[in-house]
C-alpha cells in the first residue's frame, strides 16, 4: 500500500471534499476534516508499526517529470528520522483541528482546507527523496501557513505573515540556486541519494552551497540572529497555527540540516560547525533571556522555541551519534511540549481574549485540572527529567560536550534559564490571588480539550521514561546519516555500530 | 569635386538647417513648412545617391501627402501650442541636446573609424529606376510588401475608428471625475 502517498495526498483529498460541502454546513465540514485527519494519523501509525531496521522504507518511486531539461521523479520514503516527523505532523494536525473547533468562527471551511493543505506540504517535505520534489513542498507549505496567520491571526497579522513568508522565501530561494548548482555539478540529477554520492565538490564551492542551504534552514529553525520572524508569527497566529508552526514547521529547518547539509557538504559543514554551534548557544541563552521578560505568553513560548531549537542546532553540529539522537528526539519533543503550551495558552486566550501575563493571576485556584496539565507542559518544556524534554536535551549535551565542552557548558545554563522564564510565567499566571474578576469565570478544561491534550501529556511522560520508542528507531538512520556525512579520509571516532551488540530489551544487571 | 558632391553638400546643409528649424520654430505651421524644406532637400540627396525613383516618391508621398496632412490637422486643431511649461521638466531640453550631441559624437566616431576606411571607388553604378525597384518589390520583397498590406489595413481601420465621432453610450470621464488614485 502506498502509505506515504496516502499521507501526502490524503489531506488534499479531504480538502477537496470539504470544498463541496455547502458553506453553511459548518458542523459537517469540521467533522469531515477531523475525521480525515484522525484517519490519516491512524494510517501514519502503520508507518510506525511497520518500520524496522535502518534505511528508507515505504519507498515509492514513480516517473514524474522527464523533459529534455531535467528529470525529476516522484520518489518518497521515510527513514527513522523522517518517520517521527511525519507522525508528529499527522498527530498535531487533528489536535490543532480540535483545538480550533470552536475558536475559529469565520470562514471555517477555508480554515480547515488550509490546515489540511499544510499537512500535505509538511509531510511532503519530510518524505521527499527527490530534490525537486523536496524543494517544491518546502516552499509550498508556506502558502497555507501564510493564510492561517494572515486570515485568522491577531491584530498585527498581516505584518507578521508577510514577514514570515518573505523571510523564509528569501532563504529558500538562495537554496534553490544552490540546488540548481548542485544539479549541474553532481550529475544533473535531483535524486538525493545520487546527489549525495556525487557531491564531491571542491571545498570552496561547497562552502557557498552549504551557506545557501544553511541560510534557508537556519531561517526556518530559526537560528539566532535570523529568528525575528518567529515571535511575530507566533504572536499573531491562531492557536492551531502556532502549534503547527512550532510543532512541525520549525523542524523542517533542523531536518534540512541533517538530511541535506551534512551529507551533501560534509567538509563545509564541519568547517562551519564552530560558528553554528556558537550561534546555537547564543540562541539558547538569548532566547531564554528575552523570553523571560515577555509580557505576552505566546511570545514567551515563541522565544523559548528559539532557545529550544538552539539545543537541536547545537546537537546537530556536534556530529556524533549521541547528539544527533538527542537532536532528533528534541525535534519531536519540542513539537509535543511547545505544541501543548500553545494549546494551553489558546485555552486561556479563547476565554479571555488576551495573552498578557499581567491579565491573569491565580488561575490555578479556579482551574485545577488546567493547572496540572499546564504545569506538566511547562516542566516538559523546561526539560525536567522523566519527561520527554530532558531526554533530548541530555543526549544533545552529552554528544555536544565531546565536540565542544566550553560551548556545551554555556548551553547547559539554558537549562537554568528555561526554568526561570517558564516557571516565572507559570507563577504569574497561575498563582497568587485572582486579580482580575473576569478570570473567575474561566472554565476548567473540558473533556474535549482533554481529549486533544491527553495524547500530548501521555507522550510527554512516555517518551520521558521510555525514549527508546523513538531512539531505537532513529538509531539506524542517524548512524547512516553520520556515515554519509563523514569527511572522506578521516577516521571517525564514532562508536562502532554492531547491530547485534545493541540491545533494547535492557541490559543485564552487572 | 564633382557636381554631385557639390549638390550633396549644399542640400545636406539645407536639410540640416531645415531640420533644426522644424524642431526650433515655435509655430507648428512653420515647423511643417520647414519639414517640407527638409523633405525636399533629402529628396535631392536621394537623387545624388542614384535613387531618382525614391526622390519622386519622397516628393509625392511625403511632401505632397504627409506634410499636407500635417498642415490640415495643425490648422484643424488650431492649437494653443505649447502652453504650460513644466518647471520640473526644464532639465529635459538641455539634457536632450547634450544627449543627442553625445549620440552624434558616438556615431561620428564610429562612422569615422568604420566608414572612413571603405571609401572604395566604385565603377558599377546601380541606379534605382522604377523598373528595377518594381522587380525587387514584387520579387525579392514580396513578403514585406504583403506585410505592408496588414500595416495599412490596421492603420486604416484604426484611424477610421479614432477619427469617427463618438457614439452615444460610450462612457466619458473627461471632466475631472477621475482622480489619480495612485501615490
Amino acid at each position: 500500500m502506498p502509505l506515504l502517498s496516502i499521507l501526502i495526498f490524503g489531506p488534499l483529498l479531504v480538502a477537496a471534499i470539504l470544498a463541496f460541502i455547502p458553506r453553511h454546513d459548518v458542523g459537517l465540514q469540521k467533522a469531515v476534516a477531523l475525521g480525515g485527519a484522525v484517519a490519516l494519523f491512524l494510517i501514519s501509525l502503520l508507518l510506525f508499526t511497520g518500520y524496522s531496521g535502518a534505511g528508507y522504507l515505504f519507498t515509492e518511486n514513480h516517473a514524474w517529470i522527464s523533459t529534455s531539461v531535467f528529470t525529476s521523479r516522484y520518489k518518497v520514503g521515510v527513514d527513522g528520522i523522517s518517520l517521527f516527523l511525519v507522525i508528529l505532523t499527522t498527530l498535531l494536525t487533528p489536535i490543532s483541528l480540535m483545538a480550533s473547533w470552536s475558536s475559529i468562527k469565520t470562514r471555517v471551511r477555508e480554515y480547515l482546507i488550509f490546515m489540511l493543505v499544510l499537512e500535505t506540504g509538511v509531510i511532503g517535505v519530510f518524505a521527499a527523496r527527490d530534490m525537486f520534489l523536496f524543494y517544491a513542498f518546502w516552499e509550498f507549505q508556506l502558502i497555507p501557513m501564510y493564510f492561517l496567520i494572515g486570515i485568522w491571526g491577531g491584530a498585527n497579522r498581516i505584518y507578521a505573515t508577510l514577514k514570515f513568508f518573505l523571510y523564509t522565501l528569501v532563504g529558500s530561494l538562495l537554496m534553490l540556486v544552490a540546488i540548481l548548482w548542485l544539479w549541474n555539478t553532481a550529475g544533473r540529477t535531483f535524486d538525493i541519494d545520487t546527489l549525495i554520492k556525487n557531491a564531491g565538490t571542491p571545498i570552496q564551492v561547497q562552502t557557498w552551497l552549504f551557506l545557501a542551504f544553511a541560510l534557508a534552514f537556519a531561517i526556518k529553525v530559526p537560528l539566532f540572529p535570523l529568528h525575528t520572524w518567529l515571535p511575530d508569527a507566533h504572536t499573531e497566529a491562531p492557536t492551531a497555527g502556532s502549534v503547527m508552526l512550532a510543532g512541525v514547521l520549525l523542524k523542517m529547518g533542523t531536518y534540512g540540516f541533517l538530511r541535506f547539509c551534512f551529507p551533501l557538504f560534509p567538509e563545509a559543514s564541519r568547517a562551519f560547525a564552530p560558528l553554528f554551534m556558537t550561534l546555537a548557544v547564543i540562541g539558547i541563552i538569548y532566547g531564554a533571556i528575552v523570553a523571560a521578560v515577555q509580557p505576552d505568553m505566546k511570545k514567551l513560548v515563541a522565544y523559548s522555541s528559539v532557545s529550544h531549537l538552539g539545543f537541536v542546532m547545537l546537537g546537530l553540529f556536534a556530529f556524533n551519534a549521541q547528539a544527533w539522537q538527542g537532536a532528533v528526539m528534541q525535534m519531536v519533543n519540542h513539537g509535543i511540549s511547545t505544541g501543548a503550551l500553545f494549546l494551553l495558552v489558546g485555552v486561556l486566550y479563547d476565554q479571555r481574549h488576551t495573552r498578557l501575563i499581567r491579565e491573569y493571576g491565580g488561575v490555578a485556584s479556579i482551574t485545577p485540572l488546567f493547572n496540572v496539565v499546564f504545569l506538566t507542559a511547562v516542566l516538559s518544556s523546561a526539560g525536567l527529567p522523566a519527561l520527554n524534554g530532558f531526554v533530548g536535551e541530555f543526549n544533545i549535551l552529552l554528544g555536544a560536550f565531546q565536540a565542544s565542552p566550553g560551548l556545551t557548558i554555556a548551553a547547559t545554563t539554558g537549562v537554568i534559564l528555561a526554568a526561570v522564564y517558564l516557571l516565572w510565567m507559570f507563577q504569574r499566571v497561575m498563582h497568587g490571588n485572582v486579580t482580575h474578576e473576569e478570570n473567575r469565570k474561566l472554565k476548567d478544561l473540558t473533556h474535549w480539550q482533554m481529549a486533544y491534550l491527553a495524547p500530548l501529556l501521555f507522550l510527554m511522560v512516555w517518551l520521558g521514561v521510555h525514549p527508546n520508542t523513538i531512539l531505537s528507531r532513529t538509531q539506524g538512520a542517524v548512524m547512516a546519516t553520520l556515515e554519509s556525512s563523514r569527511v572522506p579520509g578521516s577516521t571517525g571516532s564514532q562508536p562502532a555500530l554492531q547491530p547485534q551488540a545493541v540491545s533494547f530489551e535492557g541490559g543485564p544487571a552487572r | 569635386m564633382s557636381a554631385q558632391a557639390v549638390l550633396f553638400t549644399i542640400f545636406a546643409a539645407l536639410a540640416v538647417v531645415s531640420g533644426v528649424l522644424v524642431i526650433r520654430l515655435p509655430n507648428p505651421i512653420h515647423s511643417a513648412l520647414a519639414l517640407i524644406g527638409n523633405l525636399v532637400s533629402i529628396a535631392v540627396l536621394y537623387y545624388t545617391l542614384n535613387a531618382p525613383f525614391l526622390m519622386a516618391v519622397q516628393l509625392i508621398v511625403y511632401a505632397g501627402a504627409i506634410v499636407v496632412l500635417f498642415l490640415f490637422v495643425v490648422m484643424l486643431l488650431s492649437s494653443r501650442g505649447e502652453v504650460h511649461a513644466r518647471k520640473h521638466l526644464m532639465w529635459l531640453a538641455p539634457a536632450a541636446w547634450i544627449g543627442a550631441l553625445l549620440t552624434f559624437l558616438g556615431a561620428f566616431a564610429m562612422i569615422a573609424m568604420d566608414g572612413g576606411r571603405v571609401a572604395r571607388p566604385s565603377d558599377a553604378v546601380v541606379v534605382g529606376d522604377p523598373a528595377s525597384i518594381g522587380v525587387l518589390l514584387f520579387g525579392k520583397y514580396l513578403l514585406p510588401f504583403e506585410a505592408t498590406s496588414i500595416l495599412l489595413l490596421a492603420a486604416l481601420v484604426g484611424a477610421m475608428y479614432l477619427g469617427r465621432r463618438g457614439e452615444s453610450g460610450e462612457v466619458e470621464d473627461y471632466g475631472g471625475a477621475e482622480e489619480a488614485n495612485d501615490g
Binding site: - | 533629402i42 540627396l45 496632412l69 484643424l76 486643431l77 572612413g116 479614432l162 463618438g166 477621475e178
Partner: protein, 105 residues
C-alpha cells in the same frame, strides 16, 4: 568616378546628424504634432542611410527598404493624427503632450 563620389561616411554623417536633430525634437517639443514631425525627421534620416548603403553596396535593396519606411511613416502619421484629433475633441483643447500625465509613477 574615384573621389568624385560622395563618400559613404559623409552620407552616414548627415544621416546621423538629422537623426539626432529628430531625437532632440521629440524630447524638447511639447506640441504633439511637432513631435510627429521630429519622428518623420528621424525616419528620413534612416532612409538617407539606407539609400547611401544601397549605393555603396551596389544594390537597390536599400532603396526598396526606404520605400517601405515611407509606408510605415504614413501609417504611423495617419493613426497618430487620428488619435490626436480624437483626444483634442474629447479633452480640453490642447495638443500639449505634457498635459497627458494622469498616469505616472
Amino acid at each position: 568616378m574615384g573621389d568624385m563620389v560622395v563618400p559613404l561616411s559623409r552620407c552616414l554623417l548627415v544621416s546621423a546628424l538629422l537623426f539626432s536633430i529628430g531625437v532632440v525634437g521629440v524630447i524638447t517639443r511639447r506640441n504633439t504634432l511637432v513631435i510627429y514631425m521630429s519622428v518623420e525627421l528621424m525616419l528620413n534620416a534612416v532612409n538617407l542611410s539606407l539609400v547611401a548603403f544601397s549605393r555603396h553596396l551596389h544594390q537597390l535593396d536599400g532603396q526598396v527598404m526606404a520605400l517601405f519606411v515611407m509606408t510605415v511613416a504614413a501609417a504611423e502619421v495617419s493613426v497618430g493624427l487620428g488619435l490626436i484629433v480624437a483626444i483634442f475633441r474629447n479633452r480640453e483643447h490642447t495638443v500639449d503632450v505634457d498635459s497627458m500625465n494622469v498616469m505616472k509613477w
